[in-house]
């Protein structure tokens, strides 16, 4: 399944609206101006997710995992390499980072950031599709890329697609890069793309 240039542009624009809301929440929360760069979007089959991400993200990864359900269901993740997660936590809280594996408070902050970002994007999709999407409480894990990808593949045999969104946070003259991964079934992707097309043509 390949996105056309128009579909890609439309998705980028939609997610950017969600990012804008998330950035506003984070700014309000931390008292600092937090910006999110204009997202870059790509789509790939879940089986190719490791290969697609490996050049950009390596080593131990902090991932915020949130399952969503309703007429459109799937998994959503925010993944950051451990270093970026530490920096992001330090920038947001002014507390020096400890290794995330022993810093439960730090993991919690990353979970909340993921929660805000994922809720904003998924909420936006829900509005677009005019359906109610419910999300579970997010949880954080710190593990390698393979294990992260494994956790979204496992138990489900059907062919699924991953929408991968590059998320660049900018605050206090620093920038931190992470990736938003939204895993959807073929049916859900179809529905989403049709809605995107309609939204695009309705403008």
């Amino acid at each position: 399944m390949i996105l056309t240039a128009e579909q890609k542009d439309a998705l980028t624009e939609l997610i950017n609206i969600g990012f804008g809301r998330a950035a506003a929440s984070l700014s309000r929360l931390t008292g600092h101006r937090v910006q999110l760069e204009v997202p870059q979007v790509m789509m790939c089959p879940v089986g190719e997710l490791s290969d697609a991400l490996r050049p950009y993200i390596d080593g131990e990864i902090a991932s915020v995992h949130q399952v969503f359900s309703g007429p459109v269901g799937g998994d959503a993740l925010l993944v950051l390499d451990q270093r970026s997660a530490g920096i992001l936590k330090e920038l947001l809280t002014n507390e020096p980072a400890l290794p995330l594996s022993i810093d439960a408070s730090g993991r919690e902050v990353i979970a909340e950031v993921g929660n805000i970002l994922l809720n904003a994007c998924l909420g936006m999709f829900g509005n677009l599709l005019k359906v109610q999407v419910s999300f579970a409480v997010p949880h954080v894990t710190v593990e390698g890329l393979e294990a992260v990808v494994e956790s979204v593949i496992v138990e489900r045999e059907e062919l699924r697609y991953a929408l991968v969104v590059h998320a660049g946070f900018r605050l206090k003259n620093s920038s931190v890069t992470g990736y938003l991964i939204i895993v959807l079934s073929v049916a859900s992707v179809d529905r989403l793309i049709r809605a995107v097309d309609m939204w695009e043509s309705g403008r």
């Binding site: 929360l29 109610q132 579970a136």
Partner: protein
Amino acid sequence: MNEPIADAALVRWFEEFAEQGIFTTDDRLHVTSWNRWLERHSGRAAADVVGRPLLEVWPDLRDRGLDEHYREALAGHASLISHLLHGHLLPMQTRVGEHLFAKMPQRARITPLSAGDRVVGTVTVIDDVSERVASEHELRKQIEAQQMARNAAEKALRIKDEFLATLSHEIRTPLNAVLGWARILSERERELEPQLLSRAVNSIFRNATVQARMIDDLLDTARIMAGKLRLQMQPVDLLAVTIAAMDVLAPVMDAKRIELKKTLDPRVERVLGDPDRLQQIIWNLLSNAAKFTEPGGTIHVRLDQVHKSARITVADSGKGINPEFLPFIFERFRQADASSSRREGGLGLGLALVRELVELHGGSVRATSDGAGKGSTFVVEFPTVLSPEVRQNHANREGLRGSGVPSIEHVHVLVVEDEEDARDLLIAILAEAGARVTALASCAEALEHVRHAPEADRADVLVSDIGMAREDGYHLIEQLRALPPDHGGAVPAVAVTGYASPEDRSRALAAGYQKHVSKPVDPVALVTAIADAIRRANV
């Protein structure tokens, strides 16, 4: 099993026993349940809360923007409230060990309560994370302490490495001169011109002295670090000590054309200390000042009584101290410029020794500087305590004519000393002892006096400084002993020197002095030496 009954039991369990705060609302955000844990920690009973709008019971939630999470929950979205970004959801108190948290640190999850597809309300679960916060705080403190200890150890190691490099360089430099001249002397023993010979000997002497000083500093440092430095405490006259130290360094100042100004208050009370160590303190300060002062500069030495302290101030017009280096100036092995190309020699031990010796005397030392190029000022203070012992000594000073001290009353003493303050001190001591004093500032004047004074005015004894700027005390005694005995050639003589090694003593005696007294001059020792010298001459 009847499901509604089981559900009700489960709800009751959460209400009674859960180790978390759990409350629910309906879809209008009116509180529908409030568990025991919350009653216990928030101080609000379920009866107070249930049935009322959540945001009215806790208006603070709206003020902090947390009401949005409840609206999201009603739209089906779960949210996490982290402790680090929010502190807490509801204000509650807690205590972990000794630690009282005025606001219990909390993590909260706000989730929709769904029945089928419909959201019928919200569930909030609050965790008390104070134990976690306390242990993370402890962990962070330990990590920081370890980091600091590691940094300090690494720094100490680096400073020692630098010091070792400096040490080998500094010890080698004078050694090269000594070896070089020794080689020349051994190769050209026969045809050596007298002028070259004297240069060689001077250079060897000077360089070996420098090296001996360094090794003394090293040994002193090692003794202090091992706590093995012993002080011979006694009441000490800082005026005499200061003058003696200035006297020793006068040739260095002259050679560099540094003007040595002094404002010394003779009324400064005595301090309890080791005279040699006190002199070493002032020496080190003066030689440090001399080292960093350009030719033509000025060094000003002051001695004042300030309340119950004696204060010595050494101020120079030299290169000053960089503000960044100022806090470290008295640290062992530290030098502002540790590079191999630095201009000034030395081991970087002098000022560290000053501080350690001053502190061993119960005193204090501080340095100030307006910055690079603006000169430096070192201020040392020692307590002047008039203990009974000290008072006794004061009495001795006044009682130089008393019992136990040989009398030199009415003895005519010829004093030769080129340093004005040192001369005044000698005059004062001798006058106190009842002697008649003629004080002169140079060898030439002294010889003139001896040769031409009428017999009635001829001195009974000579007291001469050895290290004088032009002709020294050795030269004087040589000239004097060459005179006929009845024209002053046999006058008993006492040498006063700042160079107090056994070699100096024997050299002075060999040159023709009868007695030797080292600076700082002890009044009783001086009077006794004069009386002895006269007695011997009359035997």
